[in-house]
Amino acid sequence: MPVAIFKDIYHQTVDSGMDVFVLPRKYNKKYAVVGVKYGSVDNEFIVPGKDESVVVPAGIAHFLEHKMFDEEWGNAFERFSQLGASANAYTSYTVTAYLFSATEGFWESFELLLDFVQQPYFTPESVEKEKGIIQQELMMIEDDPERKMFSSLLQGLFQRHPVRIEIGGTVDSIAKITPELLYDCHRTFYHPANMAVCVVGDVDPDEVTKRVRQDLQGRSYEPQGEIRRIMPTEPPEVYRPQVETQMLVSRPRLGIGFKEVGPPLKGKDLLRRETATNLLLQAILGRSSSLYSELYEAGLIDDQFGLRYYASEHFGFTMIEGETEAPDVLYQRIAEGLAKARDEGVTLAELERLRKKTIGRLINAFDSSDYVANSVLGCHFEGNSLGDYLDVLQDLTLADLEERWRHLDPKGAAASIIRPME
């Protein structure tokens, strides 16, 4: 397969351990993202050099992401806007990222990006004020049936792992956040050795590295030991096999989840697990499967029906979800369909077709600078790369897919149902 597009990504590790990735391309837009390997699941950790673990309120990584834009001189988000750049940030289970895109004055914005993520500035007043904004954000999720279904499902699936808690935390947990706690989290996780930067656009990779180096030279980082993240041991059993919520919606929504029960994996092994699971899901329930057609023709699903496997070192889960008139019937039919598909197995022709499809989709995604930059960082933090992804995809065998049936065991399943209010 002559697809080498992801092999041309430049990578260098500079002083204090910061990883720099650059993909030059002739776009008007230059896109830069700084990622921190720190997300909503990192709620208990041992600060390097200390003996005891610290437990922080749920939602603090996301709260910190909001507050990082505050600087003594003003607001960085607004500053990007003044420079004509478009900035944003997000917090996932495992990563916090700050990004911008610019068509002019890229370097000024780039320096601002590097600077503001390393400059915490919190006051009791600004922290209190942010609670109001984040409360509205949490309320918005409460009113969104898709997200509500998702968070309820994770609460049903996991007993102890913090992935079961909403990324933004809860109104009660964020109430406990103080400037001191935010400073502690920043000091622990926002160290260059725990961060990486990726730039996609019409730039010289050496220039990017030079700028990062110059920025880091001005700051006196001590080498940091390992941050020990304490993850609870998650039992294989689900917490609740079925969670139901009533909402003001027009029709019910069903989410079926499967918890990953395999051992923690990193790097290419994790990527192989992820890719094999996704292809198996596609073969069983993808658009070209007989099960999908049956469910669609029976009026049980619509074109928004989705499947996905989420993979990380310490947790993983499959999510099958969509709106439906009859969630209980749909759950039953999918369970039966899975059992039948397991008996029948996946054919080599199906695997080849899905491999072809996945390669095509990857090429399509490559055109999006945002996708490339964020995936580069996401892969990096899990110990692999986009180039590895293509390798894994090309090497994948039917046996790899077969092995993944272990994950789709009905015993590790939970369902989340949203029902219209009566």
């Binding site: 068509t103 109001g132 919606v249 027009s250 029709r251 619509d302 077709r353 499809k357 399509n364």
Partner: protein
């Protein structure tokens, strides 16, 4: 800068627009069929969903899905979109570029697949396949019921309905349930035959040349497309800030304040209108974000959105259900400030940079390029990127104030919750 779109009317009646660039690894093909937004909106909306269910050569959903997977996971979608008072059926197909894969003929196959689904539907008796029709009609009706599930978008649609009860713009892109319930497989097919004689534009963006795809498109698509004239958008009477509240059991209230703009996309002052929307609520430095969110902490989102084909603007914020008056007054104050010329140099320049940035990034996104060119075609005013960027560079505060003074308040809509009711 690259060449803009090349436009050409083919013998089969399709208007072909190609944008030749080697920057993308994917080739994007998008076909639009134009219809006036009106009493047949529901039938028009149902068509793409019935068509993508099966064709002569690919009679089932599964046949089409397999075909697309064979084409390296070609991304296919079918829907309707609305620009001003025009409703358009939109088919989209994206395939990897042949060079990257080292294959040939992929684009031709993709185009013929697209044409097959659009031009050669699976028929039964004197109409569409009954099962497909029945199932897709049901799904569309549910989709309409489901609009209520996305509260911010729902509030926006309700606002437009209240603003434009007598204008086509008030009609949702999926039409009304009453109309759709009255359709049959035969009547929909009749509508299809009429639509098939309408205006159609096919856009192709990627590493292709115009002459190379011209023949493939002419070969693949059946004849019969015709160019059409459409009436200009209708004029309504703004309702002077009249307040309409709708109560639902929501955790968060959504405020949507509607306004009419004195300028539309095709007019000279359009760049100044972009500034107006940008300064009011298009950016993080904008008045709405700064005052509703950052200063008053009332909302997570606060923005304004411009529909320049119709000439309407909506300011929206998701707020605590008890903060309606406060949020409304802050938003009104920002609108008044613009009309009074209370615009700082910083606001002007940040908005200028932001607008130019947005224009420039359009050429990095195949879908953005298509959307932009389509907008020009619908408004009978092609605005080449370089020209618009140049104009954005010259807009002055006076230009913005002139536009601001012509902005008229229309309906203010509030989706409120039960807590608000208790408070009263």
């Amino acid at each position: 800068m690259e060449r803009e779109f090349q436009d050409h009317l083919l013998p089969n009646g399709i208007h072909l627009h190609t944008y030749s660039t080697d920057r993308f690894k994917t080739v994007l093909c998008k076909l639009y069929i134009h219809q006036p937004l009106g009493p047949k909106a529901g039938a028009t909306a149902l068509l793409p969903f019935v068509l993508r269910r099966g064709s002569r050569a690919y009679p089932t959903l599964r046949d089409i899905a397999r075909r697309l997977e064979e084409l390296y996971g070609a991304i296919f979608s079918a829907d309707v979109v609305k620009f001003g008072e025009r409703q358009l059926i939109e088919f989209s197909l994206a395939v990897p570029e042949e060079e990257v894969l080292g294959v040939s003929g992929l684009l031709d196959e993709a185009l013929s697949t697209l044409a097959e689904v659009i031009c050669y539907p699976l028929l039964e008796g004197d109409g569409f396949n009954q099962e497909y029709f029945r199932q897709e009609r049901e799904l569309l009706l549910r989709k309409i019921d489901g609009l209520i599930n996305d509260k911010p978008r729902y509030a926006m649609q309700r606002l437009f309905e209240e603003m434009c009860p007598q204008e086509p713009f008030g009609i949702h892109k999926y039409g009304s349930k009453e109309e759709i319930e009255g359709l049959s497989a035969a009547s929909l097919f009749e509508h299809y035959q009429q639509v098939r004689q309408g205006q159609s534009d096919l856009f192709i963006v990627g590493n292709v040349t115009h002459s190379q795809v011209e023949e493939a498109v002419q070969q693949a698509f059946a004849d019969g497309w015709r160019s059409q004239e459409f009436p200009p958008v209708s004029q309504g009477t703004p309702r002077g800030g009249e307040e309409i509240k709708e109560e639902q059991d929501v955790n968060q209230g959504i405020l949507a304040m509607g306004m009419r703009t004195p300028v539309t996309y095709g007019e000279e002052d359009y760049p100044a209108l972009l500034f107006y929307n940008g300064i009011l609520g298009g950016f993080p430095h904008s008045k709405l974000f700064m005052n509703v969110r950052e200063r008053a902490s009332l909302a997570y989102f606060a923005f304004s959105r411009l529909e320049a084909t119709k000439g309407v603007l909506a300011a929206s914020a998701g707020i605590d259900v008890n903060e309606y008056e406060k949020a409304r007054d802050i938003i009104k104050k920002q609108v008044d400030a613009l009309a009074k010329g209370d615009i700082s140099d910083e606001e002007m320049e940040a908005t200028r940079r932001g607008l130019i940035h947005r224009q420039l990034t359009i050429s990095d996104d195949p879908g953005g390029l298509v959307g932009n060119h389509l907008l020009g075609l619908i408004n009978n005013r092609i605005r080449p990127q370089a020209e618009l960027i140049d104009q954005l560079g010259q807009v002055t505060r006076e230009d913005v104030v002139r536009v601001a003074q012509g902005v008229q308040p229309d309906v203010t809509f509030f989706l409120c919750g039960p807590r608000e009711r208790e408070g009263n």
